[in-house]
């Protein structure tokens, strides 16, 4: 048999070896040095038109896809940014993630997504694994972590943005809103409207640190007012609207004195409103209902839901921008951003 053609050789290598066309294959096909191919790909302007064309042709015929591992290893630049959130089922995180995605993608980064299911041990494990990708930075939801997680992150020597809630102590940078103040604001509103027995409804509130803070903010404010009191309803399973639906029934049956319910999120609150509709319970006449997040749906139910609007997409974008700026070597003046919130008073209170 005679000498195989370059194409045939490439194909053989592809099948036999690790199953991929490499930069050297392209170089051989284009009859240039490997490094030139690398340049043609990464800084096209530094290669002459003629060569660039020849190389691109070779790339196309061979179907070459650069191996990013090798590139990352050689250049110590990863192009992957890990994002850690507690849950994907919650729309809220998804919106933040979208904000992040939009922002980092235009700058050529890829998102590595991890979810902890509100478990701090899993979070620590996840951080360790993801750090293994030698990322240029890291985005992680929340300010509360295990000590070892914080240590890992600090030692990694890369910028870290903790997003969602705003607080005094952060590992590196922080973008979010004060859930404590949000809770207090809602309490204030409900008290002003004359409600005095207020229930807070959540799921696994102990684990959901931010919901917990909203409750605390509310609780503190209510304590300050004579004759007012609150109750915490902490469900352990279920999701969103189902919980709200159930909770409304439970509360009316078992704690009829309650005159207002502040739900940990809009989904639950909407569930409660739908239940009220179905069962003919007057809202806010018999009981007031409030939510948190400001999902579009909250404006569409009848009665329209009083809620606190959180700028979720903004959090994602801001967090990503901050991280990218730091990765690019800039030193932003501020490391902590309070994106704020807005109390949207509607018909349900």
């Amino acid at each position: 048999m005679d000498k195989p053609s370059p194409t045939a050789r490439a194909r053989a290598a592809k099948r036999a070896g690790r199953g991929a066309v490499t930069l050297s294959d392209v170089a051989a096909a284009a009859e240039v040095a490997p490094i030139t191919v690398s340049r043609a790909i990464n800084r096209p302007e530094s290669v002459s038109d003629a060569l660039r064309a020849r190389i691109r042709a070779a790339i196309d015929t061979l179907g070459y896809v650069p191996n990013r591992m090798a590139g990352a290893l050689a250049s110590a630049k990863t192009g992957v940014i890990p994002v850690i959130v507690p849950s994907l089922s919650n729309v809220v995180f998804v919106e933040v993630i979208e904000g992040i995605q939009e922002t980092i993608e235009t700058r050529g980064y890829q998102m590595l997504l991890g979810s902890t299911d509100y478990d701090l041990d899993r979070e620590a494990a996840l951080v360790a694994t993801l750090l293994g990708w030698a990322p240029p930075g890291m985005l992680i939801a929340g300010l509360r972590h295990l000590p070892r997680t914080a240590t890992l992150l600090r030692n990694a020597g890369v910028p870290v943005v903790e997003f969602m809630e705003h607080g005094a102590r952060c590992i590196d940078m922080n973008v979010g809103l004060s859930h404590y103040r949000a809770g207090a604001a809602m309490a204030e509103h409900l008290l002003t409207r004359g409600y005095r027995r207020i229930g807070f409804v959540g799921v696994r509130v102990r684990d959901d640190y931010r919901a917990c803070q909203r409750y605390e903010g509310m609780h503190r404010r209510i304590l300050e007012v004579g004759g007012a009191e609150d109750v915490l309803f902490d469900y352990s399973g279920g999701v969103g609207q189902d919980i709200g639906w159930r909770a409304l029934g439970d509360v009316l049956a078992m704690r009829p004195v309650i005159d207002a319910l502040f739900f940990a999120n809009d989904e639950m609150a909407v569930g409660a409103i739908l239940r009220a509709q179905r069962d003919g319970i007057a809202v806010p006449g018999r009981i007031a209902i409030a939510g948190f997040n400001g999902l579009p749906m909250s404006a569409l139910v009848t009665p329209a839901l009083t809620t606190i609007i959180s700028p979720r997409k903004l959090i994602g974008r801001r967090a990503a921008e901050l991280l990218l700026a730091r990765i690019a070597g800039e030193r932003p003046g501020r490391r902590r951003f309070d994106v704020g919130f807005r109390l949207e008073v509607r018909e349900s209170t």
Copy 2:
């Protein structure tokens, strides 16, 4: 100055170099060969207890995190599985993703998430980039891709599962349901109930291939019945409930003969129901409403929504399992799975 100690050298390397503790640093600290550290991490049983303990101690004190790039490059095993979906705003994809995540995570894989925003060119670009991670397999939503995307995928020489819809022609493997049949099933139901002027409401239906198929399935069935007809309402912007809300208004005002609306998803359908509630429009008396997906919410609105339940999490799990099996070298008997759907008739039709 005299020669720096290994430890000092390691520390210096850490600060100066790439900013990370390497396997060699650990080896130096534990006074063993690098390869032994590698073994202690990857196959602990093949290292004596004494050494293993010493190595683990060194790892902990130094805060070593293995560099997965290097590992992947050396072993040609990646541990990253790319997942490509058209959108993250749609809960449906999120649920599928959760199913995938759950499944691959327990097997030590990480998910690399990409979203195309229903743009096939972006999809092609994304596939190319993600293939650069030399993944052991790939999960991609949908069966319709650009020819060059399919070529890339086929040439990559790794298993690929196309999920969401079920169809005859797939690149490698396929898990999903027939949207065409789902549309036909809903048409059948509406016709049986006596509706004859049926509208289909979607957003960017041309791009949303699956919605399009549902419409086609419905359309075909309706054509078969004398005196029945359908109209396609294709909105170009907005999301979920807002669209449904608007669409109901538009249809009643501009095409009052329409007696039933089949929405591209439950979110829109619920939006329409909420609008009907608010405006006192009788559903299904004045107009029937149906959705698609079977979100929990669909059962809670009044009237409860007739919809088609799609097994989203199952799709994710099944797709991931199939892929993992193939990655593990198994040859599953079947390459295409129809997970089916269920028409859930409720009050709104």
